[in-house]
Amino acid sequence: MNQEEGMNLTPKTGPSPSDEIGIESLPVTSYWADIVRAFTKNKIAVLGLCILTVIVFLCVAAPWFTPYDPVMDMDLSKTLLPPGSEGHPLGTDHLGRDIWCRLLYGGRTSVLTGLSVALLSGFVGVTIGLISGYFGGTLDSLLMRFTDIMLSFPFMVLAIAIVAVLGSKQQNIVLALAIVGWPGFARLTRGQVLAIKSTEYVEAAMVAGFSHFRIIFSHILPNCMGLIIIQATLAVGGAILSAAGLAYLGLGVDAASPEWGMMLSQGKGYLRTATYLTTIPGIAISLTVLAMNWIGDGLRDAFDPKMRK
């Protein structure tokens, strides 16, 4: 109890009052400029950004880096060649397709799926979490019960129903994964909002009669950003793997098309005989997630007003 009282006595620093009150135009620009500056100062974060850029470039410009086609170049007489084989630097898969080539082309789908799922579910989840946590009351109850419904719903039933109604397209895969992903963001954000809402600077802003919109976006959201970013970076990796699960359930677009998650699950049976079938896409996903994590950490620190100072 003492600690809480002590806390209440704390003078406000946070986003400092001079930044917040009264002056409308200045803080907006300097806020983002601050973040960019803080981010670029963080070497690890910049390294992560470089890695991600390289991965994206390799995937987008895949034809420059491999002579093969990921689907059509299937040589049934050259299956399961180990990495380092002639013409196949990373070997071939169980159907004689070049793994390096499938890795590059697969990244197009996988990285895109991972990023769009994280963004989409993050956007929806954070919005709902903010509204729910900030306004509270009946709206909160309603939104949170809705979140509970989505969280406790059997994913398989949902996925199969989505294929049945919408058909199997890449967008629908992203949609299905986002539907499963947003409740996590919502609950996390709401929990944070509840804690931040009762801090003095928010209460002060309320007393000062600022609009809800302004309070949410300039006082509450920046303080939740750290965890949201972490959750989002984790969601990227999760989505790449879950996409493979969906392909297994028949929500996949094409069993022949390359995709990292699919490469992993198709290599499962060969874990003892041809381990590289699973480790290579595993490393690719890990590298992407690692880069995302580093970027996420950098962003987290950059968004954190106290860290930035």
Binding site: M74, S77, V163, G250, G252, A255, R272
Partner: protein
């Protein structure tokens, strides 16, 4: 201070791990240390146990267990030869319709349960009659209902040990159908005994316990007229095939019902494990939906077939360093081991062999032209379709990918599409598909079900109907003489293959891994008894 606290926390974590691994180490001795004399056979199976009701069983997982508890009248081996089990002998009268089964006089229902207590009650013809009629009553939801109800006219008890079955017409499959029906005690139904929770049969092994999703344990029936070779049979449910192979290699189980293709190399090298082939190939094929507008023309179907290098596909899917035959190329939907299955050359002559150039020429003669994307097009519509495959078998999925890719290379826009199993099966029944991959139908009546028009006998109905084929098949199924029947079947198959209703891909031979300590386990099949007059599986 803070540092040391955290380090000690980490140390605690490490200590817990060490403790756990230490206390688990000595406990990993193989089971049965306490009672070395007990002969226990542990069978690892990936198949779930859905029900233990003898008339409801639809999966091999159920049937494998039930088959050891209950008797069938007769048993069919892998060479399609029938052997006496509950029936000592049986015969068919001149008319080809009246079958007489003479039962063994020394078979009793299991004792030591609350249903029969310790009273030895003989299994009689009345019981068999009751069971057959029970299966034929649609209210009971018996899985083999349709097999019996269309064919059996009447069932008569001649004397307590003699049963007469009269069929409506000549049915050459009657023995086969009888070999599927498990005989359970009438008393169980009359007294409301829960046969699912506690099966009571008459065979060599008695039910001991069923732990949901884990195992079923059977024990020796001491009263059986043959001394069963095992004290205990344990069916372990191991859903993952790769783990099942590891368990076999680890000697945690004695038999792994199916070794996946990728694991063959790991298992074949072990000196304490033998691989046994299932003996009868299981048919896998890629079918056309004949009612689909793209596939109505026989010539188009043949042209597409020519574009697929199935030999290479089968070779790539099943090659293994151990040199074990996991599958052979197929041309007609009759496994090599079944009647008429051996006429491979005749079917091959009708089969549109690999010749992509000829295939393209035929398509072009039908008005299809390559568009700028290199895909065939006619009247503004591209030649594109899905090859639908269920999500339960990676081999079939790979086959779909290979076939789609080969077709694509020849200007056909084919997409391999994995579909959830429930949806797949329903799509096939309702005709909601373009091309599909299916397997099975390797039983004695499989070829009939596949080729005949009757949509009832064939679930994935591709819409093919040819009166000539139907007539040949119907005649075959009324022909008692085996050779004549096989010839009629072969003729039907020749037409069927020529019409390219589907591309028979391969006959797959499943491999069962058996520890060398298991004796007398000659034919690995879930449909065979572990203990029978001519076979008594045991362990060393």
């Amino acid at each position: 201070m803070r540092k040391s606290k955290l380090i000690s926390l980490l140390a605690l974590v490490l200590a817990v791990f060490t403790f756990l691994s230490a206390c688990s180490k000595p406990a990993t001795d193989p089971q049965g240390n306490g009672e070395p004399v007990e002969k226990v056979l542990t069978i690892g199976t990936y198949m779930n146990i859905t029900t233990l009701l003898p008339w409801k069983s639809t999966t091999d997982g159920d049937y494998y267990v039930l088959n050891q508890i209950y008797h069938k009248l007769i048993e069919m081996d892998n060479n399609s030869v029938f052997h006496p089990i509950l029936a000592e002998e049986w015969s068919c009268a001149e008319d080809g319709k009246t079958w007489t089964f003479k039962l063994r006089d020394n078979i009793y229902w299991h004792t030591g349960n609350d249903l029969f207590g310790d009273e030895k009650v003989q299994v009689t013809a009345e019981d068999v009659k009751y069971c057959l009629e029970f299966n034929m009553n649609p209210d009971n939801g018996a899985s083999r209902y349709s097999d019996l109800v269309g064919t059996i006219d009447q069932i008569n008890v001649i004397d307590p040990l003699t049963l007469q079955v009269v069929t409506k017409d000549i049915d050459v499959l009657l023995e086969y159908k009888m070999s599927q029906i498990l005989i359970f005690p009438k008393k169980a139904i009359d007294t409301g005994w829960d046969l699912n929770a506690y099966p009571v049969g008459s065979n060599a092994y008695k039910f001991l316990k069923h732990e949901i999703d884990t195992e079923v344990v059977l024990v020796k029936n001491e009263d059986y007229y043959i001394e069963p070779g095992l004290d205990k049979v344990v069916f372990k449910i191991i859903p993952d095939a790769n783990v099942c192979a590891i368990a076999l290699q680890n000697q945690e189980i004695d038999i792994a019902v199916t070794i996946s293709t990728e694991d063959i190399a790991n298992i074949a090298g072990l000196d304490y494990v033998d691989l046994r082939s299932s003996g009868i190939g299981s048919t896998r094929w890629i079918g056309f939906n004949v009612t689909h507008e793209l596939f109505q023309d026989v010539d188009v179907r043949r042209a597409l077939t020519m574009m697929i290098d199935m030999d290479s596909a089968v070779e790539a899917l099943f090659k293994n360093d151990a040199g074990i035959t996991l599958a052979v190329r197929g041309y007609a939907p009759i496994p090599l081991e079944r009647p008429a299955g051996d006429q491979v050359e005749r079917y091959k002559a009708q089969y549109p062999g690999y010749n992509p150039e000829e295939g393209k020429r035929i398509l072009e003669s039908k008005g299809w032209k390559l568009n700028s994307n290199g895909i065939y097009e006619k009247n503004g519509k591209t030649f594109s379709f899905n090859i639908q495959v269920g999500n339960n078998d990676p081999l079939r999925e790979n086959l779909a990918v290979i076939v789609a890719t080969q077709l694509k290379a020849n200007g056909i826009d084919a997409t391999a599409q994995t579909v959830e199993w429930g949806k797949h099966l329903t799509d096939l029944t309702t005709g909601n598909f373009d091309m599909y991959i299916v397997g099975g139908y390797s039983s004695l009546d499989g070829p009939m079900k596949i080729m005949h028009t009757d949509p009832l006998s064939f679930s994935p109905n591709p819409g093919y109907s040819n009166p000539q084929v139907d007539a040949l098949l119907e005649q075959a199924w009324r022909t008692v003489d085996g050779d004549e029947r096989a010839e009629l079947l072969a003729q039907a198959a020749e037409i069927f293959v020529h019409d390219a209703v589907f591309i028979t891909a391969y006959f797959q031979y499943f491999q069962t891994g058996v520890n060398v300590r298991v004796t007398d386990f000659d034919q690995p099949s879930v449909y065979l008894n572990l203990c029978a007059p001519w076979r008594n599986v045991s362990v060393k």
